[in-house]
């Protein structure tokens, strides 16, 4: 056992190394459940999962079960899924519709609306209330525990247990620009995404951070996906995605803009993506195996050119919102969470997204492509989980544990990302985003309160750039 745990000691920012302990150590894990998952903004779900009054979806925040509900006015709430009386889950279904949640143990019941109580989630029914408690139970104090903060951001629902946490948009910083590129309609109009019915959930014997760090900016690992590229599952046949090569790429007059790792050191977020640009790149055919879908996207492209005009736009195939929400922003398109189940296991949840107003046949082609690419049966992602599984296992070796991991790639070659606030950019393959993710993680681990975590007080961005100029 350590005398005292200081997370920043495990992360060597200058040397670009990270101790293996952070992936396997029980003490570190317990601390991150409290310090990271107890204070960061976490993805809970999507409004399209609960379209009608009283619909609910049970989700997770960190290790714990929460219920996302919609009341009769349409307002969304998130409560801890545990009876304040004796702990039993008050909701044991994955989804459904209910005005009241009644605990199976002693039948305490809780109103989604707060009907007959003082607040949504309030305790409304207690068996033998008068006789057993003799007026001594203050029902207003014993409702379901609500999250401290909740936001519906373009349909995606996020929550935070810490009332002192900065608001969600401050938390995002300019990473907002890239989250928008996932959630906005493909034609550039804001919001409008919906979740394909059914959330894939599966257990992986890996520390949750291996998933988060992979999606924040690891393009170096494409070598492990060689087998899927060889069998060509892409929407136009070749490879695993639509990527223009050779003659087709040469015909593009307005090329896709500067592309690389974009990271937000003061926030902990990052993505692989294109810097903000103000003109749409030339149309590039996609989904050519299914002409009806290609035609649809051609039309969407023209709408996008019109809708966005000269406004800034971004695109990001992959990214991570600190700490445990990642996304595929283009092909396939999904939000996912890496839920911690102890240091050496995580539960992956995947929400597949489509434009709500896309024709059904387009949605279906997308759905089929998503399923062959992603998830535990996806030809691409199967190999990712194998890597994270064995990387986790090897992190606990008595001998191996003495040797930190190498995160030095591209260190010292970051530049200030143009047109984004407090952002850095490296155009080539790099580990800049993994480094800033763990740096931010260590800050959460060590900070006593949100005062010390406010992005505007962070010197991370300036420090990285200063290091480059040496």
């Amino acid at each position: 056992m350590r005398e005292s745990l200081i997370a920043t000691d495990l992360i060597d920012g200058d040397g670009g190394t990270i101790a293996r302990d952070i992936f396997v150590d029980e003490e570190i894990y317990k601390r991150e459940i409290k310090q990271v998952f107890g204070r960061a903004w976490l993805l809970v779900g999507h409004e399209s999962q609960i379209p009608k009054p009283y619909d609910y979806f049970t989700s997770r925040m960190g290790e714990e079960s929460v219920i996302m509900t919609r009341d009769k006015t349409g307002k969304i709430h998130v409560f801890l899924n545990t009876c304040p009386h004796r702990g039993m889950k008050v909701c044991r279904y994955d989804q459904g519709n209910a005005r009241v949640f009644t605990c199976p143990y002693h039948a305490w019941s809780f109103s989604v609306d707060g009907n007959l109580t003082t607040a949504p989630g309030g305790l409304v029914g207690v068996p033998h209330y008068k006789k057993a408690y003799r007026g001594g139970l203050d029902k207003s104090q014993w409702g379901l525990v609500p999250v401290a903060q909740l936001v519906n951001y373009k349909g995606s629902i996020w929550a935070n247990w810490d009332k002192d946490a900065v608001d969600f948009e401050t938390y995002l910083g300019d990473m907002k620009f890239y989250l928008d590129s996932v959630l906005d309609q493909r034609d550039g109009s804001p919001g409008g995404s919906e979740v394909i019915g059914g959330i894939q959930k599966w257990k992986v014997p890996s520390n949750w951070k291996f998933g988060a760090e992979n999606f924040i900016g690891d393009i170096y690992h494409i070598t492990s996906h060689r087998s899927v590229d060889m069998v060509s599952i892409g929407p136009s046949g070749a490879g695993r995605r639509d990527v223009l090569k050779g003659d087709k790429a040469a015909k593009i007059v307005i090329p896709p803009p500067a592309f690389g790792s974009i990271g937000f050191p003061n926030h902990g977020h990052g993505c692989i993506g294109a810097l903000p640009h103000y003109e749409e790149p030339d149309y590039a055919p996609s989904f050519t195996l299914t002409p009806i879908v290609e035609e649809y996207y051609k039309e969407v492209y023209h709408r996008r050119v019109e809708n966005l005009g000269k406004r800034a736009r971004g695109l990001a195939p992959v990214g991570t919102i600190f700490p445990n929400c990642s996304f595929h922003g283009m092909q396939p398109r999904a939000l996912f969470t890496w839920h911690p189940n102890g240091p050496q296991e995580m539960e992956m949840w995947k929400w597949y997204l489509v434009d709500a107003d896309a024709p059904d046949e387009v949605k279906n082609v997308l759905r089929q492509y998503y399923l062959r690419y992603a998830g535990p049966a996806g030809l691409t992602e199967q190999d990712d989980m194998e890597n994270w599984n064995y990387a986790t296992a090897a992190s606990s070796g008595a001998r191996a544990g003495l040797y930190p991991y190498n995160y030095q790639m591209g260190q010292g070659f970051e530049s200030d990302a143009r047109d984004l606030e407090n952002a850095i950019f490296t155009s080539a393959v790099t580990e800049q985003n993994q480094r800033l993710f763990y740096n931010r993680w260590a800050e959460f681990m060590d900070a006593d309160s949100w005062d010390a975590l406010h992005p505007k007080n962070s010197a991370n961005h300036a420090d990285i750039l200063a290091r480059c100029q040496q």
Partner: protein, 190 residues
């Protein structure tokens, strides 16, 4: 499901036909299991019709009375573990054969146990084709590398079609008896 009484002498001939069919279908499933377990995936593909639909829905925990409507995700509409045809299945087989599909390199040891084979009423089909609906239970054991072990249990509901002098799978609905998948991946066939 048809009820079979082998002792009912009034339909002894019919019963014998049913028994032979039962035996024939079981033999087909044992062959299929053998090909999969012996990693003869290309040969396994030959047991599938060109238009096969291969579907494994996600399964949800829902309130009593809502199972018919909400327990399983819908084919062709919702997310699933698998919802595909022969082209994608063949790509999975091709990926295994690259030798660099790391989730199955080295290959797992897999064993399919197929039981509870129940033949349904013969599906109405044109005179020149023969189809039967068959349900079966499976227990699929996977062990890989050293100590990774997964056990998948569930039910398959197949439409088998007699084609080119062989039975082939034309439709397969796989109900895996798990909600959250308890395995890191689904690199095997059911």
């Amino acid at each position: 499901m048809s009820r079979i009484s082998f002792t009912d002498s009034t339909s002894r001939e019919h019963a014998l036909d049913a028994l032979l069919l039962q035996r024939e279908i079981e033999a087909f499933y044992y062959l299929e299991a053998q090909l999969l377990d012996e990693r003869r995936f290309e040969e396994w593909l030959d047991l599938l019709t060109e238009d096969i639909s291969y579907f494994m829905p996600l399964r949800r925990n829902v309130k009593y009375g809502q199972h018919a409507e909400f327990e399983n995700t819908r084919q062709g509409v919702d997310a699933a573990w698998f919802d595909e045809g022969k082209h994608t299945l063949a790509q999975r087989v091709a990926q295994l054969a690259t030798g660099i599909h790391w989730a199955e390199e080295p290959l797992s040891r897999v064993r399919h146990l197929i039981t509870n084979v129940q033949i349904g009423d013969k599906t109405d089909t044109p005179a020149d084709s023969k189809e039967v609906e068959v349900s079966s239970h499976f227990m699929v054991y996977r062990n890989r590398v050293v100590d990774e072990t997964d056990i998948f249990v569930g039910k398959r509901t197949d439409t088998l079609r007699f084609e080119d002098d062989h039975w082939k799978v034309a439709k397969r609905l796989i109900l895996l008896d798990q909600s959250t998948l308890l395995a890191k991946n689904l690199t095997i066939f059911f």
